[in-house]
């Protein structure tokens, strides 16, 4: 679903991109991903960890990530996600789109500095 563009689309897209980026170095499970996003944004981006899972589900459905059950660092079963080739391509596309948007927004906000 989710074909219709809604107000959350940008945020959703952003969350998707963040997840993909987090997975770029290697496979990780949901708990790790959530903390990684929090940590790397220096706690600016506070996601409710639960909301990560529908996003993971959506990304997996689109074939950008793949999942498998594995064992966590402290020996617990966890579902790991890894970036697929299509996901890597998508990540590049999203990042360049994001950069364009950020530049554009910056230009609007600070025209003098240009």
């Amino acid at each position: 679903m989710g074909k219709k563009p809604t107000q959350t689309d940008i945020l959703q897209g952003t969350l998707d991109m963040l997840i993909l980026q987090t997975l770029a170095p290697g496979p990780a499970h949901g708990h790790t991903i959530a903390y990684a996003i929090e940590r790397r944004s220096e706690d600016v981006l506070q996601v409710e960890h639960g909301s990560l899972y529908p996003a993971l589900h959506r990304l997996e459905e689109r074939g950008w990530i793949a999942s498998f059950w594995g064992t966590s660092e402290n020996n617990r079963k966890a579902r790991y996600y890894r970036l697929s080739a299509a996901g890597r391509k998508q990540l590049r596309a999203e990042m360049s789109r994001w950069e364009r948007v950020v530049r554009a927004v910056n230009r609007v906000l600070r025209p003098a500095e240009e």
Binding site: H31, G50, Y53, R58, R76, K77
Partner: protein
């Protein structure tokens, strides 16, 4: 949206649930590691995660197909609701099943008789060649016989438009010898028959052009059913011979189970090739049906054009001999044309076409009443569920969703009713086919489900669902939640509007039931008229018989004497009061006609050659002159007895005695002068319904071209079955080679009334059903209105209204509905009656007595149906009714 996900959404849900559990475990462990106490650690983990149920739900929703999911929900909810009121669901499904079942069964019959194609290769390419407008009764006409064999020969040799042609005819013949003999349904075909039709053998081989040799026939094939029942499934083509008529014939093959020949409703037993006789083919016997397969790309119009072009040559070359110049001239002007033959031919089509369409209409009306009833039930339910709907609306359900929910209930009912109806239709159509069959002619129809029947049933289901579901659903969704919640189901303020819809339904039911009751009474009375109709001759105690002695090898000059000897044997059988020979049994459909000249007048008369005891046997009085005696021999003056119509038509009322009539010559029947010696009253000729034609009887001894057979009419005081058996035994002992058949004359006549019987039976059944449904409907609505006016009636009673007045008040309400319904129904009956007119016997469709009877019956039923709730209203305890408030 992914269908794979949709189908595996439950699996995914569990998978995600495990994943969430894994997260919580890890987070809890981390929290403990950070030094939290376990309980607090778990709570903190859950806080961090958010609401797991919401997350799961969100993922679950991602996996669903929205409309499908909600439709499924609606249906499941509807099923639960219906399970909660099993009484309502049962009544609804049963009444729908009856309605749909009856409609489908009748449609199945129509489909089998009218719409189904022959089970052969590309049936739509088949065309039949016929004379435009028929042959005007010229020559001898057999069932399905459209052309003579000489005509077929010329068509076969000259035509270019068909890739193949064939001729076929059906006839009853005999297997076995003498009294051992049995009938079989013979299918006579030209050599190309099976090849052109593209029928493949089931066993052995089918007939080929080389089988069409000189007479007698040596090879034959049998139908699958005959092979199973009479030959025990024995392998064909082993050289064993079967005696057919007088010839030894080898069975070389079996046709496939679905092949029944070319006439829908009949089943053939043995197919034999036409053979070439030594003498020339008769040009006056119209015995074959000629069909062809159009060449690819050719059309019926082109075939017709070619046949038309060939016609002059064909008819010029095949003029029957011994005809008067006028008939010859008419014959030469016949024109051939091609007609579609993909559905074969069928006598059932003529006899049952109108009755079946009419019955379909009647069954449709019954279904309409059932729908009106259901709509009423749904409305009543909707008003008792008003609170539920109000709550749902108040909680934010959209009205559209509510309508959909209610429609889901209707759809479920319609689907269940239709499924039961289709199951019911299977047995019903079997009963219908069985009721068409009579002892003499068994009807064999393929009523298996096909796409047309299923489409029909599905269409009916959708219509019924729309008919009884939509209006109540729309109505229910329009309530104002606040008002409904306040009123709480016991208010006095329920608008009249909802009632008026129910009143409309009841009026519809009453008027449609009246139409059906009128139809039922008309058809039942018409059938009764036929059953009690006096055809002018004796029916009961009469046995009709047939004796054939072509296996006795008697010389032709002995035939007349032998017939007399056989008749004497019959008369000497104990129990036989009287017996006579005849060339034609009356009232059983067959006809024998010659052209006659009376003075300067020319016309036609039916002819029957009978032995002296005929009029006594049949109880027909000779009102003027004399009947026949033993003194009327082959050598005495030709004498005749005519009926009154003959005298009226040809002698303009003058005394017929002593007048002469001269027959017009025909092959084997030279022009002969008969002196009229007696007059009989008008009797029916070959059926009960026809107008009596001019009829002539002549002595059997003076029959111009007798054959080695005779018909018999026997009057006895023992039952026909017993008499037939006794005569059979007697003749088998003395003349074992004689073929003997007997039947109960009265039963034969009644068997001819099978279409009328079917109409009477079914329309009677439907009429009763309609009346019952109307009664239930009226009862329901009056009860409902009374329940709604409980409070008001309570006040009236408390203020001193008498019971009688309350009853009258409620009944007056019902009477108004009844009056409107009956008025509308009468008008509709008069309109609808026109289509039934031709099927009625002895009464008109606007028969006032029938209309009055139906109206009275319905009024009585309605009074009974509304009296019960009215009395209940009158016995209301005012205290109870008011305390409710």
């Amino acid at each position: 949206m992914s269908w794979r996900r949709f189908i595996r959404r439950r699996w995914w849900d569990e998978e995600r649930a495990r994943e969430i559990a894994a997260y919580l475990e890890i987070e809890t462990a981390d929290n403990i590691a950070r030094g939290m106490p376990p309980a607090e650690a778990a709570a903190a983990a859950r806080r961090k995660f958010g609401n797991p149920a919401m997350v799961r739900e969100e993922i679950y929703r991602m996996n669903t197909v929205g409309w499908l999911e909600s439709t499924w929900q609606d249906l499941r909810y509807a099923a639960r609701v219906l399970r909660l009121s099993p009484g309502f669901a049962t009544v609804a499904i049963l009444s729908l099943a009856l309605g749909v079942g009856a409609n489908t069964a009748i449609f199945q019959l129509l489909d089998a008789v009218r719409l189904r194609s022959l089970p052969v290769r590309n049936p739509q390419e088949l065309a039949e060649v016929k004379i435009v407008g028929g042959n005007h009764g010229m020559g001898i006409n057999q069932q399905y016989g459209e052309l003579t064999r000489p005509i077929w020969q010329v068509i076969h040799d000259k035509q270019r438009v068909f890739s193949g042609t064939f001729a076929w005819s059906v006839n009853q013949h005999y297997v076995g010898r003498g009294s051992e003999m049995r009938h079989f349904h013979g299918l006579w075909v030209t050599g190309d028959f099976f090849r052109v039709l593209g029928v493949q053998p089931w066993r052995g081989r089918l007939l080929l052009p080389e089988d069409e040799g000189a007479c007698p026939v040596t090879h034959a094939v049998v139908s699958y059913s005959y092979w199973r029942s009479e030959m025990g499934g024995r392998e064909p083509g082993t050289g064993t011979k079967t005696i057919m008529d007088n010839d030894a014939v080898e069975i070389v093959g079996v046709t496939p189970p679905e092949f029944f020949g070319m006439s829908v409703g009949d089943d053939f037993d043995i197919a034999l090739p036409f053979c070439r006789q030594k003498e020339e083919l008769r040009r006056d016997i119209f015995e074959v049906s000629v069909m062809g397969r159009l060449k690819p790309g050719s059309t019926l119009a082109r075939a017709s054009a070619e046949m038309n072009a060939l016609s002059p040559g064909i008819f010029e070359a095949t003029v029957p001999p011994g005809r008067d110049p006028r008939s010859v001239e008419m014959y030469k002007h016949f024109r051939l044309s091609a007609y579609p033959a993909s559905q074969g031919v069928s006598w059932l089509r003529e006899s049952y076409d109108r009755p079946l369409w009419l019955l379909l209409g009647i069954a449709g009306l019954v279904l309409l009443i059932a729908c009106a009833n259901l709509a009423n039930l749904m409305l009543a339910r909707a008003s008792t569920r008003a609170r539920e709907f109000a709550v749902r609306l108040a909680l934010g359900a959209s009205r559209a969703r509510l309508v959909r929910q209610l429609l889901a209930e209707s759809a479920l009912l319609a689907a269940a009713g239709t499924a039961c109806g289709i199951a019911l239709a299977r047995s019903l159509s079997g009963v219908l086919v069985w009721s068409l069959s009579t002892e003499g002619s068994s009807v064999n129809l393929n009523t298996a489900m096909d796409w047309r029947v299923l489409l029909f049933a599905a269409g009916v289901a959708v219509l019924t669902c729309a008919a009884f579901g939509v209006l109540p659903a729309l109505r229910a969704s329009q309530g104002q939640p606040a008002a409904a919640m306040k009123a709480g189901g016991r208010g006095m303020t329920t608008g009249r509007e909802r009632f008026s819809l129910q009143r409309l339904m009841v009026v519809t039911q009453i008027s449609v039931s009246l139409v059906l009751l009128v139809a039922a009474l008309l058809f039942v009375r018409s059938f009764r008229n036929l059953m009690t109709f006096d055809p002018g001759m004796r029916e009961s105690g009469i046995t009709a018989g047939f004796l054939g002695f072509w296996q006795s090898n008697l010389p032709e000059q002995r035939w007349l004497d032998f017939k007399r000897e056989l008749l004497d044997e019959v008369r000497a059988t104990p129990g036989v009061l009287n017996a006579a020979t005849t060339t034609n049994s009356p009232l059983l459909g067959s006809s024998w006609e010659h052209g006659v000249h009376i003075g300067a007048l020319e016309g036609d008369s039916k002819f029957t050659w009978v032995s002296p005891g005929y009029f006594d046997t049949m109880g027909i009085p000779v009102v003027r002159g004399r009947g026949f005696t033993e003194n009327d021999t082959a050598n005495s003056t030709r004498v005749a007895v005519v009926n009154r119509t003959f005298g009226r038509k040809y002698l303009s009322g003058a005394d017929p005695i002593g007048q002469n009539l001269r027959t017009i010559q025909e092959p084997n029947y030279p022009s002969t002068v008969y002196e009229i010696v007696g007059v009989i009253p008008d009797t029916q000729y070959n059926d009960l319904r026809g107008v009596t034609p001019p009829m002539t009887f002549a002595p059997a001894s003076q029959l111009p071209a007798p054959g080695p057979w005779t018909g018999l009419m026997i009057y006895s005081n023992a039952p026909p079955a017993a008499i037939g058996a006794a005569i059979k035994r007697r003749l088998a002992a003395r003349h074992p080679d004689v073929i003997v058949e007997f039947s109960d004359f009265q039963k034969d006549i009644r068997d001819q009334l099978a279409p009328e019987r079917l109409m009477a039976m079914l329309s009677g059944f439907f009429g009763a059903l309609a009346a019952l449904l109307a009664m239930v409907g009226l009862y329901g609505v009056v009860s409902f209105i009374v329940a709604r006016r409980r409070h008001e009636i309570g006040i009236r009673l408390a203020l001193g209204a008498e019971c009688g007045r309350v009853v009258a008040m409620v009944m007056r309400d019902a009477a108004r509905l009844l009056a409107v319904g009956i008025a509308l129904g009468t008008a509709a009956s008069l309109l609808a009656g026109r289509s039934a007119g031709s099927l009625l016997f002895g009464l008109k469709p606007w028969d006032p007595a029938t209309l009055a009877a139906a109206g009275t019956l319905l009024a009585a039923i309605a009074a009974a149906a509304s009296f019960v709730p009215a009395r209940r209203a009158a016995r209301l305890d005012p205290m109870d009714a008011l305390r409710d408030e």
